[in-house]
Amino acid sequence: MEYYDILLIILQIVFSGVLFWLGGFAEKRKNPKWRVCYLVPVIVTLIIIAINNFEINMLGAYIGSAVCLAGFVKESVKIRRISSVIAAVLAAVSIPVCLLSGSYRIYDYARDFKNAFDHMKKYYVLSEHKGIDWDGLYNEFLPRFEEVNRLQDEMENTIVWTEFCARFNDGHVGFVPSGDYELAMTEMYDKVLGNDYGFAPMTLSDGRTVAVNVGADTEAYNAGIRNGTVITGWDGVAPENIDDEAMKYFTFADKDNKEFYRTLICGGTGGDSITVTFLDESGNEKSVALQKIGAYYSGRLKDAMKAVNGGIETGHLMWEEIDENTSALRLKMMMSDSKSMKSDNYDSLSWSIECKIEEMKESGKNHIILDMRDNAGGSDEMVKAIASIFASEGEHYYCTDPVWDYMKKCYVTDENGNFVKGTDNYYTGRQLWDGKVTILVNANSVSAADHTVLVMKELENVTIMGFTESNGSAQGVGSVVFRNEAGISFSGSLLLDENGKPSVDSGADYESGNDVDVIVPFDEEAVRVIFDEGEDYLLQKALEY
């Protein structure tokens, strides 16, 4: 039972005892003022309900406090004592009722879903573009949330929400559980991603699947599987046919990005043991039965993802001297200090980059790397501030704001259902750097990072590279917060490209419009460098390119 409910019951019983005694005391004193005390239980009950919300199973205690009012209305000792006893009994009865009832303080997860769903259906700007089947989603997921209501399982709620959000193929549609986000998501992935068999499978650019992140002293290792070992079979099926049930818990806005991670994410698929076939050092096919080891697959997946996706290990907005020609700026998000964020003015950031550029010119450096891997996005003004430094002088197109209907409170569409273009947005190039610029991205480079890719890939001296494209989600975000502080975010503000289509975000074809210049092949060499040597392969490629 909750603290305030227990407190209320205890107070109710104590008040009843006091009021029982007071009935006789007031009679002896012949002072009518004492009857005011019979108001106290009701006042306290109302305050506690206000703090902790009404609960139907506590009705006994609530009615008990109201019964005490009889002592206020009637000055009879008998009535006061009887009402006090009844109040105490009703309060006490609330305890077993609350403990035995299956509906005590249940949280209505289905209500949150309905509320959020109504908001999304009304305000999600990519409904038509992505061909969202709202009725289908509602019919599929409402029963699942009703089941969550029945189970009162917050973990299950997180799982269902994560699955729901992944259906949109939009990096801006996501669920944030209440409490510690990292902990909640880790626990969720522990539950849904299956077992750890000692290594993670990953598909190379040439279509072969190899082992990565092989654990030392695991059964897999002892059987001869190493980082880069070709896996030819997974529990009786080809690796490319591994059951991809686990993919439904991950959001990818682009199908190529999804395909890149598919085998890796599904590497926990299987029972207590699986049979893995692989090519040994001699090229012979071998088979081994691997028992699941203690830890969840999610931990191994997380380590593998970090190795593949991880950027330069330094702080946000920190410069790293890579070699005699190259400096790298780590951009973990498109936000800087609080003052800049508040005023949305990034002159100070521009100035600091300009100073660095001057320093680099003086020392003869000619290559800047902007490491935007795992960049979580942020401000478009910061995008403009950075792009303007490297763009040629003059105006450069960024994107177009659609026309807004202030009367109907919606975006204006034409007779064909296309959004009507409004104001074009530009930024001014200053060309402060003549040297080479390489931007590193991955599938987690999202939102304003997608914008950065969009505007800077047009620049001549800029090369955008990664194992995958950037995320492919560039619309403005809004959110709905639930009563338990959980919430969902989704694309609520629209940005168009020159053709009047939603900028960057993929449509029903699942192809985002934000191609990078160079897709670095994820090959055996990449596996060796990343997993055996622990080096930043993508950074090495950026230096070579």
């Binding site: 009857r35 309900i49 206020f72 704001d401 947005n425 009563r483 940005l495």
Partner: protein, 260 residues
């Protein structure tokens, strides 16, 4: 009872404290409105009456509640202080007449005065800049009219306290302390059940919104002003029940009170 009501209304015209309170709250609201919107510019565009109401109704619904407490305390408590109630009983009026002769005009004036004060900022902005199309007038009026019910409820509860405590300044002090203590508790302030009158007023006056924005546009707010029918019914029913209970308890106390 009619005479008591008339005398109460006459007394109201002479009640400097209540009149001063009403004017002071109105002036403070107008000053706040000027400070916030005097230049006719907000962060995201030109202000209109509808925009002001949508943004700040919950804030401007707080201040007038002080008028409610002060007026009720003064209207009831002052007559106990100067023994007017005693004289009325001695002159032959029944306790019922004395009680409801006070309660009825107090409820009416408190409700009207409070709602007028809530509406003043919106009226002021509308008079200068127009209503605009942020929210519909009808939805705003529905919320204002709905607010009358918890105002009546709170007034009746304070009538009960006034008949018990009988000292207007003690009642004013206690109401201020209670309001502040309850008001700083986040979970109380955002309680969705119509348990307390002032949280009900807060729920009615808080208008949910969505917003969109562009790269080179102001933020556009979309206010969801329609209230669910179930919420409206529960607010009305609960408010009237609590009001009736408070008046009943107040009368039952007064009926047997020895007036010392």
């Amino acid at each position: 009872m009619k005479n008591i009501i008339r005398s109460q209304l006459f007394q109201l015209k002479k009640d400097k404290i209540s009149i001063f309170t009403f004017i002071a709250i109105a002036v403070v609201e107008l000053l706040l409105v000027y400070m916030m919107y005097g230049t006719n510019k907000t962060y995201d565009g030109v202000i209109t009456g509808g925009e002001e109401v949508a943004r700040t109704l919950s804030m401007f619904a707080l201040l007038p509640q002080f008028f409610m407490y002060i007026f009720t305390a003064q209207s009831i408590g002052a007559d106990f202080k100067d023994k007017t109630c005693n004289y009325e009983i001695m002159s032959g009026h029944t306790r019922l007449q004395v009680f409801f002769g006070r309660a009825i005009p107090t409820i009416i004036v408190s409700a009207l005065g409070t709602i007028i004060l809530v509406a003043i900022p919106g009226i002021a902005i509308t008079a200068i800049y127009g209503w605009g199309n942020t929210i519909s007038v009808a939805d705003y009026i529905v919320r204002l009219l709905l607010m009358i019910f918890p105002v009546i409820r709170i007034t009746c509860e304070f009538i009960l306290f006034s008949f018990i405590i009988r000292n207007p300044y003690v009642i004013m002090g206690l109401s201020y302390v209670g309001f502040m203590v309850l008001g700083i508790n986040e979970s109380i302030l955002h309680n969705y059940t119509p348990v307390l009158g002032f949280t009900t007023i807060n729920n009615i006056s808080t208008i949910d919104f969505w917003y969109t924005y562009g790269l080179d546009t102001d933020i556009r707010y979309i206010y969801e002003t329609a209230m669910p029918t179930g919420d409206i019914v529960s607010i009305i029913v609960v408010s009237l029940l609590f009001a009736a209970a408070a008046l009943y308890l107040g009368y039952m106390f007064f009926k047997n009170d020895d007036m010392h």
